[in-house]
């Protein structure tokens, strides 16, 4: 087990270095001198310019700058936003909201996806199955902002069941509609995965044996079929948590949820390049960290994975 954890951690290092390097490189490619931009139309004092250049390490070669930046990241220094607030402070304020939203979305998509997928799989080829497949196709092809607007229009404006924007503090009842919208990203995938898995499990010998022993369907379906079909589904749902955290950008922006995604969304809309880059870096790191934790948990839960290279 220790060997497995060590191997996974070692494998994460090149990916971590590579991704931060790529992002840094893309930003470095940005045309124009950032310091000159600070002064606007005025001509800066050369001595001041020189001092700032040293202070921000801009006189160092690119690779040195990158490692200084990387060191900052490891100390929790992600830079400052356009308004002067430290990115880490904004994160501390907004991240809990995003996590709450992502967990709600995960629960919704898991419960809904597994239930519909199970029924579809058990009634393969029947009307329910066919309609579930069509609906899942439609969900796959609808962009998230279209789903968000349609939900806002129907449930917020026409029916008046939910608020179109989330009030301060992001109480759970306000987050239900955004969570449903966010859940729709991978809802369809979960239905299909569960359905395929249920169909496969249904044909296995132990299910036939259970029927042969005269067990009732009420026992066979939840205990024998569902439980054994859930392994790939749980795997998918766990890796999906990272996608939900990152994918919340558009949803949070539209529903005005005060989370990490909205901060990024607003920075993008206002064209605040450096803030966008800091937040994207943070989100990529979160995404990598979540995936690493999920991988490690699997090793704990399923011994087969530990020994497969």
């Amino acid at each position: 087990m220790a060997g497995y954890i060590l191997r996974r951690l070692l494998q994460a290092i090149p990916v971590l270095l590579g991704t931060t390097f790529l992002i840094y490189f893309m930003v470095f490619a940005m045309p124009g001198d950032p310091l000159l931009a600070l002064f606007g139309d005025k001509t800066p004092n050369p001595a001041l310019l020189e001092r700032l250049r040293q202070e921000y390490h801009l006189d160092q070669p690119f690779i040195v700058q990158y490692f200084l930046y990387l060191g900052g990241i490891f100390r929790g220094d992600f830079g400052t936003s356009f308004s002067g607030e430290a990115v880490s402070d904004i994160l501390a304020r907004t991240f809990p909201v995003t996590i709450r939203l992502a967990i709600m979305a995960l629960i919704i998509e898991f419960v809904g996806g597994v239930l519909i997928g199970l029924v579809s799989g058990l009634r393969k080829g029947k009307l329910f199955d066919a309609s579930a497949l069509v609906v899942s196709l439609i969900f796959i092809s609808l962009p998230i902002f279209v789903i968000a607007f349609v939900a806002q229009y129907i449930f917020g404006i026409q029916l008046g069941w939910a608020r179109t924007t989330v009030s301060t503090g992001a109480p759970i009842q306000d987050l239900i509609l955004p969570a449903f919208v966010l859940a729709s990203i991978s809802f369809a995938q979960l239905i299909r995965l569960t359905r395929a898995s249920v169909i496969e499990t249904q044909g296995l010998d132990f299910v036939r044996t259970a029927y042969g022993k005269g067990l009732s369907r009420r026992r066979i379906i939840p205990v024998h079929i569902l439980r054994n079909s859930l392994i790939p589904v749980v795997t998918y749902a766990a890796t999906d948590f990272g996608v939900l955290l990152v994918g919340a950008t558009v949803t949070e922006g539209i529903f005005n949820v005060p989370g990490v995604g909205r901060t990024l969304y607003q920075a993008i809309i206002r064209g605040e390049g450096p803030t966008v880059v800091s937040f994207v870096t943070v989100m990529v790191l979160i995404y990598l960290a979540v995936n690493l934790v999920v991988d490690l948990l699997y090793g704990l839960l399923d011994p087969r994975i530990r020994y497969v290279k």
């Binding site: 196709l137 092809s141 962009p143 607007f149």
Partner: protein, 318 residues
């Protein structure tokens, strides 16, 4: 090899000998066209309504993109009158007007080529990069595989919308169809590469590859002539589906305001401009969204049909 002597498979002996003459069993219809994966797939596909529906939609989208003036005589930007702002449908302008008083339908028709060209350029880019990386990694293996696969992991681990947001922020002065396609494609190729690599690992130990090697064919020629053609099927599926995904990505970036400039007509831009008027003029938001969704749906449906046709296992699950 043990296959030198002819060992009949049990299938040959199903029919009772005294009833069927041996000649009839061994008779093979030489005139029949040899069936292969592609012919089988085509036979399967053309029986499915989903294939025809998506094919018709895709054809229609292509024709609209190439010849927009066939479908609308109203110029998209010239005749805009602010007195028509957010106006409802009239007999000449069936889908109503945008906030700037332009014809919604005309903008839809003229915006088609933007979405489609981004989709096609991204797909070409991801397919070329994916085939290069996937084929060399899978076929040559060893250290080359390690390097190429790790490089793919790095690009794969950055969600490509976020990466595209950064690239588009960096190149904010040069936003056009090519830059946005590059921004999406440069981080989307590892999906193709992974699928191809996995398939090549499966194919490269086949008997026919060994036979080619035994006759002295060079490695590169084996890869191009034997391995690639036999492992390209899953790539086609990924490609068709990713074309739809690329169109969504362009719309999302334009929606976020880091996509194409407002002067370029695109569905994403129209949706983005219409979002503030959801309450008062839903038609300006709904029609571009509908056009976008139907186009993407067609490509994804096509991908699914091809996947089902090429994969016997998926066919059995249907």
């Amino acid at each position: 090899m043990s296959n030198n002597s002819f060992t009949p498979t049990p299938k040959h002996f199903v029919a009772p000998l005294e009833e069927t003459p041996l000649v009839a069993i061994d008779a093979v219809n030489v005139g029949e066209r040899p069936s292969n994966l592609w012919i089988d797939a085509w036979r399967d596909m053309r029986r499915r309504p989903m294939f025809w529906i998506s094919a018709v939609i895709i054809l229609l989208v292509i024709v609209v993109a190439l010849f927009p003036t066939l479908f609308t005589s109203v110029p998209p930007n010239d005749n805009c009158q602010l007195s028509n702002s957010n106006g409802g449908p009239t007999s000449d302008h069936l889908l109503g007007f945008t906030k700037q008083g332009c014809d919604v339908f005309s903008r839809l028709v003229h915006g088609t080529s933007t979405s489609l060209s981004v989709g096609i350029i991204v797909t070409i880019l991801t397919t070329v990069l994916g085939i290069l990386f996937g084929a060399f990694a899978g076929f040559y293996g060893g250290w080359l595989d390690s390097i190429l696969s790790r490089a793919g992991d790095i690009f794969f681990s950055i969600p490509y919308i976020l990466a595209a947001v950064v690239i588009m922020s960096v190149f904010s002065a040069y936003r056009n169809v090519f830059i946005i396609s590059l921004a999406i494609g440069i981080f989307a190729w590892p999906a193709t590469a992974r699928v191809l690599r996995a398939e090549i690992l499966r194919v490269k130990n086949s008997d026919y590859v060994m036979a080619a090697r035994a006759t002295g064919v060079t490695n590169f020629r084996i890869l191009v002539r034997h391995v690639l053609p036999n492992s390209i099927a899953p790539v086609i599926v990924v490609t068709t589906i990713s074309l739809g995904a690329a169109i969504v990505a362009e719309a999302t970036l334009s929606f976020l305001g880091v996509g194409l400039p407002n002067s370029t007509m695109s569905w994403g831009n129209d949706i983005s401009a219409a979002q503030v008027d959801l309450r008062t003029a839903p038609q300006t938001l709904i029609y571009p969204s509908l056009a976008l969704s139907i186009t993407v749906l067609a490509f994804i449906m096509m991908g699914e049909v091809i996947r089902d046709a090429l994969d016997p296992k998926a066919r059995a699950q249907r």
